[in-house]
């Protein structure tokens, strides 16, 4: 049985594994990570801890976000100078965005929102 931290590590690796394997969807990788069983335990703080240990994964998530071609969803991008933005694009009514000074914190927030959105889809 994977620990919650193992699951968080597997979740953080998803964009890298998605690119490397090529024959598997994000949705399948999320299922393989075990996140569905641990989604209550794997919170933003735990994801942030994993990212701080391996901050190069932040770049993977930035590229993952900018490569999305969905009609709606969460995004993570560089905002104003020295700011990072996590937001949602959809209809006018549900657009929202948050600004962060620190990119690891922003990335962790984005990851949690993104995997929750896909888990619930």
């Amino acid at each position: 049985m994977s620990t919650a931290r193992d699951v968080a590590r597997a979740v953080v690796r998803i964009p890298r594994d998605f690119d490397a394997r090529g024959d598997v969807s994000f949705h399948t990788l999320l299922l393989e990570s075990g996140y569905a069983d641990q989604h209550d335990t794997v919170d933003v703080r735990m994801i942030e801890d994993v990212l701080r240990a391996d901050p190069e994964f932040v770049t993977d998530w930035l590229q993952y976000s900018e490569s999305k071609r969905s009609s709606a969803g969460w995004y993570f991008r560089k905002g104003a100078p020295s700011r990072w933005e996590v937001g949602y694009i959809g209809t006018e009514a549900n657009k929202q965005a948050s600004s962060y000074r620190e990119r690891v914190a922003a990335c962790a927030d984005f990851i949690k929102k993104e995997v929750e959105a896909i888990r619930g889809s």
Binding site: D19, G22, Q63, S65, E66, S67, A72, G73, A117, S121
Partner: protein, 198 residues
């Protein structure tokens, strides 16, 4: 009127060609088929647990959005045939005629910038429902994207970049893949990096 207009996938042989009633029934069938196709878009595959796609079967509407995922049981309507259909009393004919692809503008770039700019300009953009996108492999995503780009090229759209590009080598991800493909097809960056020109 040429017979092929009624010999398509709707089974035109079921009705007399010149019957007024026949035209109306055909029209209603076509409308029902269109509504069925649109209604089944959002999560047909998610609901079925499908995690593999034959993107060659996909169709897109005139904004670039996915309009018919594989498996949607709807007849294929050849858009170029629609303007020629003579349907007395069929009030929807003009709106079907407006689906014929026209040259226009397409926006490419990074998510979500390209969506925002396309909305502002009323331009086409490539996008797929998130639940479907997340269930596609990298290869399937690119196949769908390339199909959209090929249609854009055939229409001769103006190509606008939501994120100006000075040096293609500094671009990453799907946007880089789109730029590389279009450059292979004979396009080049405009001097200010906001467009692709031929």
């Amino acid at each position: 009127m040429s017979s092929h207009l009624y010999g398509g996938t709707l089974g035109g042989s079921l009705m007399p060609r010149r019957s007024f009633l026949g035209f109306r029934v055909t029209s209603m069938l076509m409308m029902a088929a269109l509504l069925l196709a649109v209604a089944s878009i959002p999560s047909a595959h998610a609901a079925a647990g499908v995690d593999s796609f034959d993107v060659s079967m996909w169709e897109y509407d005139d904004t670039g959005s996915l309009s018919r995922p594989p498996g949607a049981r709807s007849p294929t309507l050849a858009r170029t045939e629609l303007p020629s259909m003579h349907c007395p009393g069929a009030s929807f004919a003009p709106s079907l005629n407006s689906l014929v692809p026209r040259r226009g503008q397409t926006v490419l770039g990074k998510f979500p910038d390209y969506l925002n700019l396309a909305d502002d300009l009323g331009a086409r953009r490539f996008n797929i429902p998130q639940d479907v996108w997340a269930r596609m492999t990298k290869a399937e995503q690119w196949t769908a994207n390339r199909k959209f780009l090929d249609r854009m090229i055939r229409r001769g759209d103006d190509i606008i970049l939501s994120n100006p590009v000075k040096n293609v080598n500094e671009v990453t991800g799907a946007f880089r893949q789109e730029l590389d493909y279009l450059i292979q097809q004979g396009f080049r960056l405009s001097d200010d990096g906001t467009r692709l020109l031929r």
